[in-house]
Amino acid sequence: MSCCLDTDVLCRDLVQTGLFINNEFVAGDSQIETVNPANGKVIAKVEAAGEEQVNAAVDAAEKAFEEVWSKVTPQKRRDYMLKLADLVDRDNEELSQIETLDNGKGISFSRGFDVRELAECIRYYAGWTDKVHGKVIETEGVLSYTRHEPIGVCGAIIPWNFPVLMLAWKIAPALATGNCVVIKSSELTPLSALKVAALVKEAGFPPGVLNIITGYGHITGDLLARHKKVGKIAFTGSTNVGRLVMKAAAESNLKKVTLELGGKSPNLIFDDADLDLAIKWAFRGVFFNHGQTCCAGTRIYVQEGIYDKFIEKFKEHTSKANIGHPHDEATFQGPQVSQTQYDRIMGYIDTGKKEGATVALGGKRWGEEGYYIEPTIFTDVKEDMTIMKEEIFGPVVCVSKFKTDDEAIKLANNTNYGLASAIFSESNRRCIELAKRIKAGTVWVNCVNVLHANTPFGGFKESGIGRENGEYALDNYTQVKVVKMATTLSA
C-alpha cells in the first residue's frame, strides 16, 4: 500500500497510499487520484474508504477503546504522544516535502509552520493527558463528584488547506482525553496524513486507537458522520458541508458535533494605526496560504483619513509578493489547491468585476502551468456585493472605507460569519473597547493570523460551534458524569 512519488522530490521511504486501520495499511473499495497543483499532474492514487472500510475503522476504534485504550494510564498516553511529536520532528523534512507537493504551499511554510505546529500541538496536548480534572462539589449528605470521561470513538473530517495541522488539532485533544479516533483526510491532500499514520504506528500506539482514512466527503465523510457507533464528529470545512454534517448527526444518533466553518473576517484599520505595520499584517492576513484560510482577513475597512495612503502602499506591498514554485524556498504564494478551487475563485473575480467593483491589483491567472492566481485587490466594494459577502477562499481581498468607530463595528459585524477579526490602532481604549464589541471568536489587535496551541480558536454565528486548541478543546472530547454517593441521606 505504498508507492514512490513520480516527482523530482527525493523521498526517503515509500509513500503510503492505503487506509490506516488497526495499525495496518489496507485496501479501500476504490481509488482516488491526488494531483500536484503546481502542474496539474497526478502524484499518486490512494485507497478510498467505502462502507465496509468505514465500519472496519469504527469497529477497530471501538474495540481498541473498550479493551485497551481506556485501560492505558494518562501518563502512558502522554508518552505515546511525546514520542509521536519526536518522530514528526525527526521526519520534518520528508513530511514537509509531501505536504508541499500535495497541497502546493511553499516549502518554507510547510517546514517552518505546518509541520512544526503539528509537533507543537501534539506536545501541548500530551501535557494535558493527566490533568483533566473533575470536581468535588459540597452537597449535604452526599459525596458528589464529577468525572470528565472520554466519549469513546470520535470521528473527524478535515480539509485540505492545512492538512497536517488540521489533523493535529483534532487528534491531539481527542487522544489526550482518552478517545479513539477515526479521521478522514481530504481527498485533495491525503498523502501527509498517511505519512503521519506510519509514525503513529512507529510511536507504538496500540492498534485501532488512531485510524486515518481517505475518501470523498459525500461518501466516506457522510458514512462517518452518520455512523451510530461514533459518539462525536468534529468537522472543519465549508459552512455548507457543516450543515450536512450536523444533519447527518441529527438523523443518526445525535452524536456531539463541533464545527469550524467559513469566515469573511474583517480587518479594521484606523487613522492612528502604525500604517506600515498594518499593511504588512493585512497582507499576511489575507494572502497567507494563498487565501485558503478560514480566518483570512478578507474584508479590509480603512478609516477615511488614511484610505488613499493605505491603498497606495498596500498595492505596492502586495505587488512584491513572491509567487512561484512550491519547492522554491523563496516562494510565498504557490498555486491554489485544485482546478475546482481555481475555477471558483476566478468565478468570484469575474462576478466582482461584473457587479462593479474595481480591480486595483491582479485579477488574472498567473503563469502558464498550475492553478496560480495573482494576488487580487478589489476597491469600491459595496456591502451588498457578492464578493463582500461570500467566502472566496483565494488570494482576493475587498477594501472599503469608514468614518467612525461605530460605523467600523457595524461593518465588521455585518456578516453571518464570525470567525475572526483584526483591529489596527495605537489607542489602548479603542482596542479594548472594540474587541469587546466585535462578534467574532478571535480578535487580533495589531496583528493577524497569530495562532498558539494554547489559545482557543473557533467561530461565532455561522462560523461554527465549539473551540479548538487550548484547554477549551478538551471539552469537545469529554463528557461529564456526576456521581452522587449518599452517605447520611435518609430515604
Binding site: 494518562p74 501518563q75 502522554r78 508518552d79 511525546l82 507543537e120 506536545r123 501541548y124 500530551a126 501535557g127 494535558w128 493527558t129 493527566d130 490533568k131 480534572h133 459525596l143 489602548n428 481604549r429 479594548i432 473597547e433 469587546k436 496551541a453 494554547n454 484547554e471 454517593m485 452517605t487 447520611t488
Partner: protein, 498 residues
C-alpha cells in the same frame, strides 16, 4: 574560610564493587565551583565508612548562587517561552532515564535505600514528576473577570523570581524533583540546598541540568549545614520564596527567618505521626499488607509514615498476627543485594535516636511484640519493630520516630478511632481500612490530615496534591495545586470608558 579543598571530580567505590565518578563542588551558574564552607564528609550508612568529602556553601557562596539565580531570571529565564520551559524539563526527565542506574547507585550508597527501590520508585517517581510538570508550563492561566462594562480586568499568574529550597535526606532526588519541577514550570529560577547527609546524587543531577540546556543560573545546587548554608538561604532578601521539607523544629526557624528578613513566601512540609485505622469489617490481609508498607517503606524514614495503627478490638489479634508476618518477611541487608527490602538508617545520629525511642517505648509500658534490635554489627540497620498495647499519650505514640517502628493501639468504635487519630499535633496523612462504603466516606471526611488513604497507604501520583494539616506544615506539593506555591497573582484593572 577553610584552607582544605579538593578537586571537583572524585572517584568513589560502592560496596558492590562499582566505581563511580562524582561531582563534589557547588553547582552555580552552570559551573561546578569550589565552596568556602567546611568540607563535609558523607558517610555510607551500610559500611559506616566515609564515601568522600564534598564542598559546602558559606554565606558568601549562598549569595553568589542567589545573585546568579536572580540575574538569570531577570535577563534570560523570564524571556523563555513557556513551551520551551516545558521542553527543557522534559529533556531533564529523559536524561534521568538514561542515567537511572548511576543515580540509583548514588542514592543507595549515600542514603542506604535498596538500589532497586531507588531506581524503580525514587527515580521513576522523579522522571514522572518532571514530565508531569513539563506539561503544565504553557497551561498556567490567569482569568478574565467581568466586573463592569467600562473595564477590562484580568489576572496574571506570574513567577516569583528566585525560589529557595531546602530538602532532606530521606528521598534526595525525589524531594529535589518535587520542588524543581513546579518551580521551573512556573518560570522561576532556583537555589536548592541539599542535605549534608546525602549530597552526591543532586550534584550528579546538576550535570544533567547543564546537559539538558538550561540557561546558566536558572538551577543552582549547593550543599551545607542547616545552620550555615540553610540559614543564609532562608534569610536572603533576594529570595522570594522558601520551600522547605524537613523537621518541624527547623520549619519553625525558617518561618522566623522569613519574618525577620523579607517576609518571603513559605511552604513547609514537616513531620507527621500519621494514624492508620483498621476497622473490623476491613479485608485484614489487604490492610496488613498496606499498613506494613505504610510504616516500613523507606525504613520508616517518611514524613507521612503511618506510624500509629489503631485496630478495632474485635480483630486486633488477627490483624496484629497478619501485620507481624509482613514485618517478618522484610529482608534487611545491603542495598545492593537483589533480595534486600530494607537498608540501613541514614546515619548514626538517626540510628541512636530510633534506638532510644525503642527503649522509651518499653520503659513506658508498651509491649515490644517484634524486633527492637540492631541487625548485624556493621551499618545502621534496625529490625522492623512492632509495639502493641500502646496508649495515645505514650511518647512513641506522640513523637515522630522516623524509623521502622510502629505503635499499635486499639479502639472500640469508629468515632473513638477518629478522635484518637485526630488527637495529635501533626496532620500529614492518615489511612482507613474498611469494606463499608459509608464508613470510608465518613472517616475520610472527619480525619484532620492532608492525605487520606482508603484501603491502601503510601500510594502517590504526581498529579495528586500532598501536604499537611496542622503542624505538619502548609502548602501543597504535586498536582496542579503545587503551581499556586510557585506563582503570585497580579490583577490588572484597565478603565476603558472615560
Amino acid at each position: 574560610m577553610t584552607a582544605e579543598t579538593q578537586a571537583d571530580i572524585q572517584t568513589i567505590k560502592t560496596q558492590s564493587g562499582q566505581t563511580l565518578k562524582v561531582h563534589t563542588h557547588l553547582f552555580i551558574n552552570n559551573e561546578f565551583v569550589a565552596g568556602h564552607g567546611p568540607l563535609i564528609e558523607t558517610v555510607n550508612p551500610t559500611t559506616e565508612e566515609v564515601i568522600c568529602k564534598v564542598h559546602s556553601a558559606s554565606e558568601e557562596d549562598v549569595d553568589a548562587a542567589v545573585q546568579a539565580a536572580y540575574t538569570s531570571y531577570k535577563n534570560v529565564w523570564s524571556k523563555v517561552t513557556p513551551a520551551d520551559r516545558g521542553i527543557l524539563i522534559n529533556k531533564l526527565a529523559d536524561l534521568m532515564e538514561r542515567d537511572q542506574d548511576e543515580l540509583a547507585s548514588l542514592e543507595a550508597i549515600d542514603n542506604g535505600k535498596a538500589f532497586s527501590v531507588a531506581r524503580d520508585d525514587d527515580i521513576a517517581g522523579c522522571i514522572g514528576c518532571y514530565r508531569y510538570f513539563a506539561g503544565w508550563a504553557d497551561k498556567i492561566h490567569g482569568k478574565v473577570i467581568d466586573t463592569s462594562p467600562d473595564q477590562l480586568v484580568y489576572t496574571r499568574h506570574e513567577a516569583l523570581g528566585v525560589v529557595g529550597a531546602i530538602i532532606p535526606w530521606n528521598y534526595p532526588l525525589m524531594m529535589a524533583a518535587w520542588k524543581f519541577a513546579p518551580a521551573l514550570a512556573a518560570g522561576n529560577s532556583i537555589v536548592m540546598k541539599t542535605s549534608e547527609l546525602t549530597p552526591l546524587s543532586a550534584y550528579k543531577f546538576a550535570a544533567l541540568v547543564k546537559e539538558a540546556g538550561f540557561p546558566a543560573g536558572v538551577v543552582n545546587i549547593i550543599t551545607g549545614y542547616g545552620h550555615i548554608t540553610g540559614s543564609a538561604l532562608a534569610g536572603h532578601r533576594k529570595v522570594s520564596k522558601m520551600a522547605f521539607t524537613g523537621s518541624t523544629v527547623t520549619g519553625r526557624r525558617i518561618m522566623e527567618s522569613s519574618s525577620t528578613s523579607n517576609l518571603k513566601k513559605l511552604q513547609l512540609e514537616l513531620g507527621g505521626k500519621s494514624a492508620q485505622i483498621v476497622c473490623a469489617d476491613a479485608d485484614l490481609k489487604n490492610a496488613a499488607k498496606h499498613a506494613a508498607a505504610g510504616i516500613f517503606n523507606n525504613h520508616g524514614q517518611s514524613c507521612n509514615a503511618g506510624s500509629r495503627i489503631f485496630v478495632q478490638e474485635s480483630v486486633a489479634k488477627e490483624f496484629i498476627d497478619l501485620f507481624t508476618e509482613q514485618a517478618k518477611a522484610i529482608v534487611v541487608g545491603c542495598p545492593f543485594k537483589d533480595e534486600t527490602n530494607q537498608g540501613p538508617q541514614v546515619s548514626k545520629g538517626q540510628f541512636d535516636k530510633i534506638m532510644s525511642y525503642i527503649k522509651i517505648g518499653q520503659e513506658e509500658g508498651a509491649t515490644l511484640h517484634f524486633g527492637g534490635e540492631r541487625v548485624g554489627d556493621k551499618g545502621y540497620f534496625i529490625s522492623p519493630t512492632v509495639f502493641t498495647n500502646c496508649k495515645n499519650d505514650m511518647t512513641i505514640m506522640r513523637e515522630e520516630i522516623f524509623g521502622p517502628v510502629v505503635a499499635i493501639g486499639t479502639f472500640t468504635n469508629v468515632e473513638e478511632a477518629i478522635e484518637l487519630a485526630n488527637d495529635n499535633e501533626y496532620g500529614l496523612a492518615a489511612g482507613v481500612y474498611t469494606s463499608n462504603h459509608s464508613t470510608a466516606i465518613k472517616v475520610s471526611n472527619a480525619l484532620l490530615a492532608g492525605s487520606v488513604w482508603v484501603n491502601c497507604y503510601d500510594l502517590f501520583n504526581n498529579s495528586v496534591p500532598f501536604g499537611g494539616y496542622k503542624q505538619s506544615g502548609f502548602g501543597k506539593e504535586l498536582g496542579k495545586y503545587a503551581l499556586l506555591e510557585y506563582t503570585q497573582v497580579k490583577s490588572v484593572i484597565t478603565l476603558v470608558d472615560f
